[in-house]
């Protein structure tokens, strides 16, 4: 019997994940429900690709309101929580995830806020009920960081982390570096291209990076830190003169999130040597894990958008594998 999945959140990621599941990309999973902000559609027999073509609100059987009853009534086995990040509460995603975990329903999410704000509480809940909580899509888009630690680095210890975890600020700083743009012009360009939000505060003031850093510190390094433990400085004060002075000295200004060996979490614009492997440009992300035995390990990739679907689907595969319901097909 297939796992019955609910995709909660029907934006950029939700649509792509729902379509992937409806087209059978992950064997052993049946997409039975999709929810957006105004309501949800529930098809116990499974939603088809055709049904996902248009606006789900126009489908017969669309129910207005929250899909939380599907979790409460045990109508799904897997919650894929893809609602937008909401600070400072993490809601409504936090309530959805808690409701699912407390009923033994597995959770895959790409929503940073609940994992960053309530990591300890959610992992304890997950442990107590045996439900899985997977969140690779919350950090680094398609770059496997959390699962890399879980599956490939179990015999080593992560001593420190540093990296570029936000594509929007990296795009702005890269345009300032290569084209000599002012911060304001580069931001406006990023907004016009859809890379920056209309309200870019979360990105440019460093909060998005701080949330991701917090997730890595707690999950990859096993720390117990909270958002108020992170020293956060954004990039809005970085001037074209500063970027140009850095460039003359063979350096680039980058918004760096770092966890030091003594457990201090910092987000700040820093100077990075142009030949440092984390000195990537455009919307790319790069993260270096410093390992006790293996030394430095750096991963580079797109930190948002379509590549995040890869992380989400891999987590869904992991749920299917753990639940032992893989129906024959194998991943490539």
């Amino acid at each position: 019997m297939s796992l019955r999945a609910l995709v909660n959140g029907y934006g950029f990621l939700g649509r792509r994940v729902a379509r992937a599941l409806a087209s059978g990309k992950v064997p052993g999973v049946k997409l039975v429900a999709v929810a957006r902000s105004t309501g949800y559609i529930h098809r116990p027999g499974g939603l088809t690709l055709e049904e996902l073509e248009g606006d789900i609100a126009s489908l017969e059987g669309f129910v207005e309101g929250s899909p939380i009853s599907l979790l409460e009534d045990g109508k799904v086995d897997l919650l894929i929580e893809l609602t937008p990040t909401n600070l400072p509460t993490g809601e409504p995603a936090l309530t959805h995830i808690k409701t699912a975990l407390s009923r033994g329903i597995d959770v895959v999410t790409a929503n940073k806020a609940p994992i960053a704000l309530a990591y300890r509480e959610l992992t304890e809940l997950s442990r107590s009920t045996g439900a899985l909580l997977l969140f690779e899509g919350t950090v680094g888009g398609g770059i496997p960081l959390v699962s890399l630690r879980r599956f490939c680095l179990r015999g080593d210890e992560v001593l420190s982390i540093r990296g570029i975890l936000n594509g929007t600020t990296n795009y702005i700083l890269s345009r300032m570096h290569f084209e000599g743009l002012t911060f304001e012009l580069a931001l406006r360009e990023a907004q016009n291209l859809g890379i920056a939000e209309r309200d870019p505060t979360l990105d440019i003031e460093g909060y998005d990076t701080a949330l991701k850093l917090l997730i890595l510190a707690n999950s990859v390094m096993g720390l117990n830190r909270r958002l108020e433990d992170v020293r956060i400085t954004g990039i809005s004060r970085v001037t074209a003169d500063a970027v140009s002075l850095a460039k003359e000295a063979g350096l680039a200004v980058k918004l760096i999130g770092s966890v030091s060996p003594d457990g201090h979490l910092t987000v700040a614009p820093r100077l990075v040597k142009l030949n440092d492997p984390i000195c990537v440009h455009g919307t790319l992300n790069a993260v270096t894990f410093r390992l006790r035995t293996a030394g430095d390990l750096t991963l580079i990739g797109e930190g948002a958008g379509e590549p995040t679907v890869t992380s989400i689907l891999n987590d869904v595969w992991e749920v299917v594998t753990v639940r032992g319901r893989l129906t024959g097909a194998r991943g490539t």
């Binding site: 001037t239 003169d241 002075l245 200004v253 770092s258 614009p269 820093r270 100077l271 440092d276």
Partner: protein, 173 residues
Amino acid sequence: MPMKDICRDLTASAMPPVRVRLTCALVDRPGTLLRTLEQIALAGGNIISIVHSRESITSGYVPVSINVEFPDAQSLERARRGIESVGVPVIGAESLEKSLRTVIVLGSGELGDLIRAVEGLGLKIVDASVRGGGSELTARLTLEVPEGAAGHDLMRRLEEVAADRGYLLLSEV
């Protein structure tokens, strides 16, 4: 000599020397300093200078700072153990190596004030480049910073000093 030993010798000779300031607490008694220096020499250390602060005598102990160049870190460790084996506590071993670090400082203020603040921490500015006019200052400073924990601590204090004055300080990762 077997090839294994030759390789070990070559590796050893390729290791960089270690320059440190050893601070020892000597009992104010003739011969104690000599016994300490003997242990350094036995470990292969080359003494650069000695500061014997007899005026800082506390509870019968005199702090002595000895700047030494050792061929490698193992020699330093041998010397430290040797000194302690003759009954002299080693109360500090601070690296004398310096590295150059670049910082960029942004904010409204006077360059002179910023330089005084940096130098007040004991950091030496070896190069400076300034942009901007009026009250907005953007300065790139190249600083000589001690290696190791002492340098790390100084950079952290520099960040605090800059923040206190309302500057944004960009430091190297």
